[in-house]
């Protein structure tokens, strides 16, 4: 227990110093409306999640007769067993392949593009490309799924995992380039200049200077894209057909039909699919912090 409050306080020390302490604390004590609402909303956020987790450990018979908000007296893993036996591992692997297969190339090519856009500030072509990426931020995926579906059919990729991966990469690019370019722009010009004096090529400068310095932004971009692609529902829905190619969000919907009134099994399937992304978030948070502190210590 002790490390948690200590860690929290340490993390917040610079923030409270920035806001000015005494006055803000006086305000805080009086904001009853906001305060009670913040805690109320915490309950609103947590109740469904709490219900989900405890229900996933109840037997079906037990679920119908007990208070839905009371944890089960005897934990059972039979719901998880049922979910795993329903081909869960295959759907999970499909989602892993799609997410890794899309996030890594998307981040890599976005980083290269962001570097080029920042370094080629005087190049009209590069600025035009950047303009197209910025415009791309406004294109909703939902509006272009029909032509994407047509392109995938023409490429004879329908009902494959590549069919989901390729458009996922494309739609991750605009925001990734924007975030990474903003970050690369903050790298002091002198560093680029000294790399050039040392005779480094643009390619070398990109990997040896910009890449390590951009690490916190790269982590952010990877997490953001991974969450979006892991949770994607529309692309798998329209670009695949057979159950063997289903990713997790699609599988969840079919589990619900399959399990029907077996609410604990449905709860187990949702819990099981949420764990990886919450873990990634937990790891990423720490990574983010260490990435930032590493930058400060240099």
């Amino acid at each position: 227990m002790t490390p948690t409050p200590a860690g929290t306080r340490a993390g917040q020390a610079p923030e409270s110093a920035a806001t000015g302490t005494r006055a803000s604390r006086k305000f805080a004590e009086r904001n009853w409306v906001g305060g009670s609402f913040a805690w109320l909303w915490l309950i609103v956020v947590m109740v469904p999640l709490y219900w989900l987790v405890i229900t996933s450990f109840k037997t079906q018979a037990n679920y119908f007769i007990t208070n839905p908000l009371k944890p089960p007296s005897e934990f059972t893993f039979e719901n998880y067993q049922l979910v795993i036996e329903s081909d869960f591992v295959r759907y999970f692997m499909n989602s892993v392949i799609v997410t890794v297969g899309a996030v890594l190339p998307a981040t890599l090519i976005s980083f290269m593009a962001a570097y080029a856009v920042v370094r080629g500030a005087g190049n009209r072509f590069l600025q035009g490309v950047n303009g197209i990426f910025l415009m791309g931020l406004a294109i909703p995926l939902q509006a272009v799924v029909i032509p994407v579906y047509l392109i995938i059919i023409k490429m004879e990729l329908y009902n494959t995992l590549q069919a989901i991966i390729l458009p996922s990469i494309a739609f991750a690019i605009p925001l990734s380039v924007l975030v990474l370019a903003n970050f690369i722009r903050d790298v002091p010009k002198e560093l680029f200049e000294s790399m050039r004096m040392d005779g480094a090529t643009e390619w070398g400068t990109m990997w040896r200077l910009a890449f390590p310095l951009t690490r916190p932004a790269l982590v952010t971009v990877v997490i953001y894209n991974a969450v979006g692609i892991w949770n994607g529902y529309l692309l798998p829905l329209i670009l695949t057909q057979s159950p063997e190619k289903a990713t997790i969000p699609l599988a969840l919907a079919s589990f619900q039909t399959q399990f029907g009134v077996n609410v604990p099994a449905v709860a187990a399937s949702v819990t099981l699919t949420t764990v990886p992304i919450v873990l990634l978030y937990a790891i990423g948070r720490r990574q983010l912090v260490s990435g930032l502190t590493a930058g400060f210590n240099k």
């Binding site: 929290t8 917040q12 806001t19 006055a23 803000s24 904001n31 906001g34 305060g35 609402f37 913040a38 915490l42 956020v45 947590m46 469904p48 999640l49 989900l52 208070n67 839905p68 908000l69 090519i109 290269m112 593009a113 570097y115 080029a116 080629g120 500030a121 005087g122 190049n123 990426f133 406004a138 294109i139 909703p140 995926l141 939902q142 509006a143 272009v144 799924v145 029909i146 032509p147 994407v148 047509l150 392109i151 390729l166 990469i169 494309a170 643009e202 529902y233 529309l234 329209i238 969000p249 699609l250 969840l252 619900q256 009134v261 609410v263 709860a267 949702v270 699919t273 992304i277 919450v278």
Partner: protein
């Protein structure tokens, strides 16, 4: 400004020569992302316009250009007015519910540094869940026979939440708020923390109470954030598909059949890709129109602030 002109010109020369030497390398670096985005982003955007003037069933390879036939079919479709109304209703209600609550939460969290970290960790969780997972959770939770209401035996909770038109919309708005209020409150929290403390101290000396401080300092100071957050909410609400599709599939009847759902059903279920593309074009136009409108409001705010300074 004129005195600065010569050094600026001189400064440009090395940049230009460097651009000439390494410019081609930079172009190669941008190409993979550019090609990928053109192929799966720009081409489909143009493609959806072309397809809206064509007839295609989505299954066989024949695509015929048929002029305005698909547009006529889309615009005279009896479902269109309802889809527009439902889309507008979801947009307006979700904005009305989310904005005040997010500002309230954000303002509180910005000041309560003791609890901020703790709250932020949990507030972030809904953002990690897929809309499909959230929809399935609420579907089970709100089930009139096996859900929370039935299990707790509380009459008020025991309604057919997703089975009646008005209740279904209300439930949808609630689930959307559950999913996104934490995110927007984190945005507002960041904005409120940017406000200089001295402004509040000055107001306090002038005898302004908390409520007046909120309306006279906090709200005007987070104007741009309100516009950014509203743009995200409003344009984002146009694209709610996963959540509605898994939660209600547009039902009961057509009570929650928004434009995106209507498009999916026309195209991928009724095999009318032409009219579905026309609806997609409407979706893009409405989205661009709304972002421009909100940006214009933001631009005006920007100008007036510059005049003030």
């Amino acid at each position: 400004m004129t005195t600065l002109a010569p050094p600026v010109v001189r400064g440009q020369e090395p940049t230009r020569s460097r651009g000439g030497r390494s410019g081609s390398v930079l172009v190669w670096m941008v190409l993979p992302a550019f090609i990928m985005f053109v192929f799966f982003g720009i081409v489909p955007l143009l493609g959806v316009i072309v397809l809206s003037f064509a007839t295609w069933n989505g299954i066989t390879p024949e695509i015929e250009l048929t002029g305005l036939t698909s547009w006529k079919a889309a615009l005279t479709n009896p479902g269109l007015p309802n889809a527009l109304w439902v889309t507008f209703l979801i947009m307006a209600l979700s904005w009305l519910v989310q904005t005040p609550l997010s500002i309230l939460l954000g303002t509180f969290m910005a000041r309560q540094s003791r609890y901020r970290g703790f709250l932020a960790v949990f507030y972030f969780i809904p953002l990690l869940l897929s809309s499909a997972a959230i929809a399935i959770t609420y579907k089970s939770l709100l089930d009139p026979n096996f859900g929370l209401g039935a299990g707790l035996g509380i009459e008020a909770l025991n309604q057919d939440w997703l089975g009646q038109a008005n209740l279904a919309i209300a439930t949808l708005i609630f689930v959307v708020s559950w999913q996104f209020i934490p995110f927007h409150s984190l945005i507002y929290q960041g904005a409120v923390r940017q406000i200089p403390q001295s402004m509040y101290e000055a107001a306090q000396i002038d005898g302004a109470g908390r409520v007046r401080q909120f309306f006279n300092i906090t709200l005007p100071q987070i104007k741009y954030t309100i516009i950014t957050s509203s743009t995200l909410m409003v344009v984002g609400s146009l694209t709610f598909f996963d959540l509605i599709w898994v939660l209600t599939a547009g039902g009961p009847g057509d009570a929650t059949r928004a434009l995106a759902v209507q498009m999916y059903q026309l195209g991928f279920q009724a095999s009318l890709m032409g009219p579905a593309s026309a609806i997609a074009v409407i979706l893009v136009l409405v989205g661009i129109g709304l972002s421009l409108l909100l940006r214009r409001i933001g631009g005006r705010a920007d100008q007036s602030q510059m005049e003030g300074a």
